[in-house]
């Protein structure tokens, strides 16, 4: 039997105020929106990145990750919304904000004729905090030949070079836009290790976008999941896992009615049982599937609420981050 807690769950996935503890917020957006003609790439996006954390920004291809990052970097101007950098409200990312951010883009468009060292000299001219010795150390650590031209670097080396350029001015925030998309598994692991070690040893805030769940699961402290330009979830991975369950039961048998409810006739039992599940206070149905004679409902509620829920004849399972991501980003949520 399904039981419900007395209090409705406090679930507000897109409200940063509800999720963020009173730690320093490095970067916050509120109601950020950007359209390209009729295409609404980002709509009403509110997120908050805390100091020292690795923030995993998950989303499918075309979900709006890169557009969001380009707005955070000041490359694109938001149509609407507000941006807050280190507690100060700014219209868009200005020069001083960009000087405090290290950025690794999805594709590297460096000057092909420049060497690794030359790129460092060039980029260093724009950052007052640029540390040439640190840059050389990073090149060495990343096994990048300083005198090799960018055009002669492999794909993995190009991403590492971008990371070195992004880190050498000791940024307060490191933004990585799907940096491992074109890397092989070994290079990807090396790159992620480097990012993690930088984040842990220097307590460097890192905003890390990807569509690879395992990467984010390994590296991120908190995640934001974006779908169709809208943030569907923001919070810790453990909390996310604890809040989502998949309930499966054979069809056409419906789950029995809730305790205390009026007994149902056999004809209406199926629909009423389902409605009872769906009517749980604060629950959000992420996915509702019927296949192989089974009905599978993926739902999100407060973690404590799931502990009190009992369903006879139904299987309730905790999901991996990948399954949760599929439920959140795979298709639009069921509206009740």
């Amino acid at each position: 039997m399904l039981s419900t807690p007395s209090a409705s769950p406090q679930l507000s996935p897109t409200s940063p105020q509800a999720q963020v503890a009173p730690e320093t917020i490095v970067l916050r957006t509120e109601g950020l929106a950007k359209s390209f003609g009729k295409v609404r790439a980002v709509r009403d996006l509110s997120l908050a990145v805390r100091e020292g954390e690795i923030y995993g920004f998950l989303g499918r291809n075309g979900a709006g990750k890169t557009t969001t990052i380009r707005m955070l970097m000041g490359i694109l101007k938001p149509d609407r919304g507000r941006l807050e950098w280190m507690g100060k409200r700014v219209r868009r990312a200005g020069l001083s904000m960009k000087r405090s951010i290290g950025y690794v883009s999805q594709d590297q468009h460096f000057y092909p004729w420049m060497t690794c060292a030359g790129l460092g000299r060039f980029a260093g001219g724009f950052y007052p905090t640029w540390d040439p010795a640190e840059y050389l150390r990073l090149l060495q650590a990343l096994e990048l030949p300083p005198q090799r031209r960018f055009s002669r670097l492999s794909g993995g080396m190009r991403v590492k070079l971008a990371l070195a350029l992004a880190l050498a001015h000791r940024p307060r925030l490191l933004i990585l836009d799907e940096p491992t998309a074109s890397l092989d598994p070994v290079a990807r692991r090396e790159f992620l290790d480097m990012v993690r070690s930088q984040a842990r040893s220097h307590r460097r805030t890192t905003f890390f976008s990807s569509h690879r769940i395992e990467e984010v699961e390994q590296a991120a402290d908190r995640v934001g999941i974006i779908q169709d330009g809208t943030l569907r979830y923001q919070g810790g991975i453990t909390e996310l896992k604890a809040s989502v369950r998949r309930i499966s039961w054979p069809q056409p048998v419906e789950p029995p009615p809730l305790p205390g409810a009026e007994p149902l006739s056999r004809e209406s039992a199926a629909s009423a049982g389902a409605m009872a599940l769906f009517a749980l206070p604060g629950i959000e149905i992420l996915r509702d599937e019927r296949s192989d004679g089974m009905r599978r409902v993926t739902a999100q509620a407060e973690a404590a609420q799931w502990e009190s829920v009992r369903l006879a004849g139904c299987e309730i399972e905790q999901l991996s981050l990948e399954d949760i991501f599929l439920a959140l980003a795979g298709r639009p949520a069921v509206s009740l």
Binding site: I75, L95, S105, Y111, F122, G125, F126
Partner: protein
Amino acid sequence: MIRALLAKELRQHWPGLLVLAFLWLVIYLLVALGSILQDAMLSPFELLGSFLHIGAVLGSVTLGRLLVVSEYRERTQLFLDALPVSRIAMIAVKWFLGAAVLMGLVLAAFLLTTLLAWRNESWSLRFALFLLARAGAACLAVYAFFFLMGFLGRYRFLIYALVFLFFFAASQLRQFEMDNWGPFHLLGPTFAYERDVFPWEAFRITCLTGGICIVGSFFLGLLWEGSLSALFAERMSQREKVVIALVILTGFYGVYLLDTRTPKQPFDLDDAAMARSGRVTVKVAGTDELSTGLAERLAAELADLRTYLQLPGLPSVFLVERGDLDPDLYERGILKETEGFLARAAFRDSGFNEERFCRWLVGELLAAQSHDGVRAESCRWVYDGFPDFWAQRHSRPQPMEDSRPLIFRALYGLPQGITDRDLSTWLRFRETLGDDIAAGVAWSGLEVLASRQGDETARSFVRHVLGCHLPRDVRAAVHRRLHSPARVYRNLTGQSFDSFLTEWNGELDRCRGIHHAAIESLPRLRAEFEFVSAPGDSYDLNYRLLADPPLSSPVRYALRYCALPPMNEEVHPEKIRETAHVEESLSQHVLARPFSKGSRVFHTLSAELPELECSAITGWIRSDVPPQP
């Protein structure tokens, strides 16, 4: 930040900038050398002005490509976007760097010219400032334009074509003089000589144009966070290429059509005798009796022609004396901006043959009136035969065999009779016979038509083929197709064109029977040509004329030749050169002027045949030098 951007641009583009400086020097020296060889330059600053016309465009195109196009095409501006530098600063650094380089080159050219002019030119600070301001403003405006074009990426070539089209259309349709406009005026003919009055108006226009281009550059570079320029920088698709090519071709064709339809000012001739007849005006240079009489006779003749062919009108004819021409050679003048037909001839020479000139004039006027449509091969035989047919109109009906020398020319040219193939490949056919004999053949056809079908049918026939005023577009080709001589003949007579050819040959056979002995006694000409290797990779032409039966002495003959253009188009008679000989007996000659290897030569030998009252030829030949085996 600015220093880093500057250093990057210089590190990236120094090879290109060095090449540009070297090219400037080379072009400057070439322009200087050209002016010295032509002995045309009065002041070294004229050289500077001429050079800057080329140098400013070359420098600006190169700088725009280096600084803007390469950045956006390689998409490296995305790297700059991520750096803490504003787009305005990025574009401004590029613009000012390019402007500084260009001004440096202009200054270098100015100093070099000043060195050349130091001893010969009077000099003042005011004059130097004039020169520098004019050169600087013009070059910067041109640079600003090409810098702006850099932001248009793959569409810049389309804009170049449209700008060129605009100026071309303005000059063609509105008599807009580009030399008097803005930057072109600043570097124009007064550049080297104007020392007192500064051309403020042109300077203002130049600065305004440059300013608009600068604003446009920043606007395009900043619009939609620079994404428009990035979009333009992508390579052109095949579909875009086709569409753009069509747009450009259509534009040029449209301007061409508009130009041909725009009424032009009538040409006029001062101190000339004028005669009007019907709606035809003829003016002959001079006011004496000769000019007046000639003008009146020509006007009457052309009015008659207009009525005969029912032409809507004929251009006014202007005849000017050109004493250095042979009296049997005539020249058509080219009138670009005005309306009319200008002819040049030595009409005061005692050897001037008015009847012959009139025949030439009739042909040229019909060609001019049809935009050369009547010279198309499909109806060319009618065109070639008409002047003689027209000249004989008063003596008709006269038996054809009595029309000497025309019937002799026809019989001499057609020993085997005429075929449909001869008419359809008339240009080749007339090259084997020569213009005069081919005209005689064509005349015989029109005469047969008139004698068999009547004068009125013959008149309708030539009117349909030659008398139409056609537009200068595809409709002319369609009309020619629908009004071929064979089709017109069928429509007028209801008989097949083959039956006409049979009649034509029958009539020629009848005349040949009458004149058999005279025609057989006429010499048939042959030629021997040989290209002989000469020193310096060149070739001489050895030639000999052969005649059977021999030509009566003294023999007057000539080698006629010209270098062929790349295509096998019809060779204009004015381009043909002649080496004449008068000999007791025929001998071999060498053309003193050698032909270079790889050239093509159009050549024949011609000899005067008194019985035909014209020259016969051995047939035109197109030869490769050296001849291909």
